[in-house]
């Protein structure tokens, strides 16, 4: 490649100033970037309005591609199925036998539950979801894990509301604009969810690792009682997430806690539900008490 540009365009003052101004604006760009970066560190929502408007503009693209994603996945799955039909068949047959048995017992339990509730005259609070939406995009090139859904404040979606898919919890809304909202996924390291083991209520919390996996940490000390395959569901403490939503499955136990897989992979989810904040008044009260207590004492480490 030949050298392209001459930075000394003769005696034309205009051309010289033009080049000089270009460099000045470039350096100003760096400074503006630094300032904007500093502002967004101290106030992560500072540019939320611009991001919201931008994703509103691009939402139709995302919606079209969400449809493509679903059909694309099923195409790949159809091709892949040819290679493992035999043993998959065997496995599924076995699974169906097991599932049938548990379905019967589950139905019996649901019946019993209904009768008991009627007996106690407990009205299920039945919190209906705020909105149902498409997952239309995610930040695939950045180390932060956000997804974008196509429902926004026009449909009642606001920051703080939990989002779930069919398989389990996806994350929570952090910013909403009229037409779209930005969801902090569970795999983001900033997202901490209080959970309990579905089988026995062992408490812990789940935190993202930024590489698609999540870390499960226990609140109890001592021997690590986790086994691969343990299912963790939300515990409801903290007041944001409703209890009982599947969150994670233990993959590899570690010395303290475990590394887990997400119960609902955002990549294979198309529709999600935005749920109301589980105990909004409790969350508000907690935030108020934190504010009243003032900033925490400085840690010296």
């Amino acid at each position: 490649m030949a050298r392209s540009r001459d930075l000394r365009p003769g005696y034309s003052r205009r051309a010289q100033y033009g080049i000089f101004t270009g460099y000045v604006i470039a350096v100003v760009g760096i400074v503006v970037g630094l300032v904007a970066f500093g502002v967004s560190l101290y106030n992560p929502g500072a540019f939320g309005f611009a991001r919201g408007a931008a994703s509103d503009v691009a939402a139709p693209v995302g919606k079209a591609s969400a449809v493509t994603r679903k059909s694309g996945r099923s195409l790949i799955a159809a091709i892949g199925a040819y290679f493992e039909t035999g043993h998959q068949n065997l496995e599924l047959t076995r699974e169906i036998a097991g599932a049938r048995a548990s379905a019967v017992s589950a139905r019996a339990m649901a019946d019993e539950n209904r009768r008991l509730k009627a007996l106690l005259q407990i009205v299920d609070p039945a919190q209906p979801p705020v909105a149902s939406a498409w997952l239309i995009g995610s930040t695939a090139a950045s180390a932060r894990r956000y997804a974008i859904i196509d429902a926004g404040s026009a449909r009642g979606v606001h920051a703080g509301q939990p989002v779930r898919g069919a398989g389990g919890l996806i994350g929570r809304v952090v910013e909403s604009s009229p037409g779209t909202a930005r969801v902090l996924l569970l795999s983001d390291p900033d997202n901490v969810v209080p959970v309990r083991r579905a089988a026995d209520g062992l408490p812990g919390f789940v935190q993202g690792l930024a590489n698609g996996r999540i870390e499960i940490r226990l609140l109890t000390m001592g021997n690590n009682p986790l086994h691969p395959g343990d299912v963790f569901v939300t515990s409801g403490s903290g007041g944001i997430y409703p209890p009982g939503v599947p969150v994670a499955v233990v993959a590899t136990p570690r010395r303290d806690g475990a590394e887990g897989r997400l119960a609902a992979d955002p990549g294979s989810t198309d529709y999600v539900l935005v749920l109301p904040v589980y105990k909004a008044d409790a969350v508000a009260a907690m935030a108020a008490s934190v504010k009243a207590a003032g900033p925490p004492p400085k840690e010296d480490n």
Partner: protein, 190 residues
């Protein structure tokens, strides 16, 4: 090299200014020639709206790669301050803290200027090497900025993304070359 004055040869001729095989009363569409590079970079920024909902950073920074490819193919096309508007656009969609793209893109344009100054005659391999250095720095700094934004260092998960970025750069370069040929198609009748 001013894009307008350049012959709009649709095929690579032996000499740089060899006789173009087109009627003499045809010229490239001015708006297409001027807008396509900008539009292509901005469209690549929209790739976060792609079918892939990723649970880890896997997709290379395609917008930035496209910018670098344009910068290397047509070094005079983008003004040096291009990082300010296009970086801001990319920040709106990338999920990085706002400002990191502006800063990194502007710095990269200045760095490319220095590279142009130091290494006057470069082949594609040298271009690739320069792009590899810039892209590695971009990915590393980007993930560090994202880590600063969550207040503690993120584990470095950019390994696969980094390899894919370096491997994909020639592909992006080819794509940009194709767009460049499209951009200069003689569609306007004089």
């Amino acid at each position: 090299m001013a894009s307008a004055s350049r012959p709009a040869s649709t095929r690579l001729a032996s000499g740089s200014d060899a006789t173009p095989r087109r009627p003499i009363n045809r010229a490239p569409l001015p708006w297409l020639a001027a807008a396509l590079p900008w539009v292509s970079v901005m469209a690549m920024s929209l790739f976060t709206f792609s079918p892939v909902i990723a649970s880890a950073p896997v997709i290379p920074p395609l917008a930035f790669m496209t910018l670098l490819a344009w910068r290397m193919l047509r070094s005079g096309f983008f003004p040096i301050w291009v990082g300010l508007p296009l970086g801001a656009w990319d920040d709106l969609y990338s999920g990085q803290p706002f400002g990191s793209g502006i800063m990194l893109w502007s710095t990269a344009m200045l760095a490319m200027d220095v590279i142009d100054e130091r290494f006057l005659w470069r082949g594609f391999r040298q271009d690739w090497l320069a792009a590899a250095v810039l892209l590695s720095a971009y990915l590393l700094l980007g993930s560090i900025f994202a880590g600063i934004a969550v207040r503690y260092p993120l584990p470095l998960t950019i390994g696969p993304q980094w390899l894919m970025t370096l491997a994909l750069f020639p592909v992006i370069n080819q794509l940009v070359a194709m767009l460049d040929r499209l951009r200069l198609l003689p569609l306007r009748r004089l």
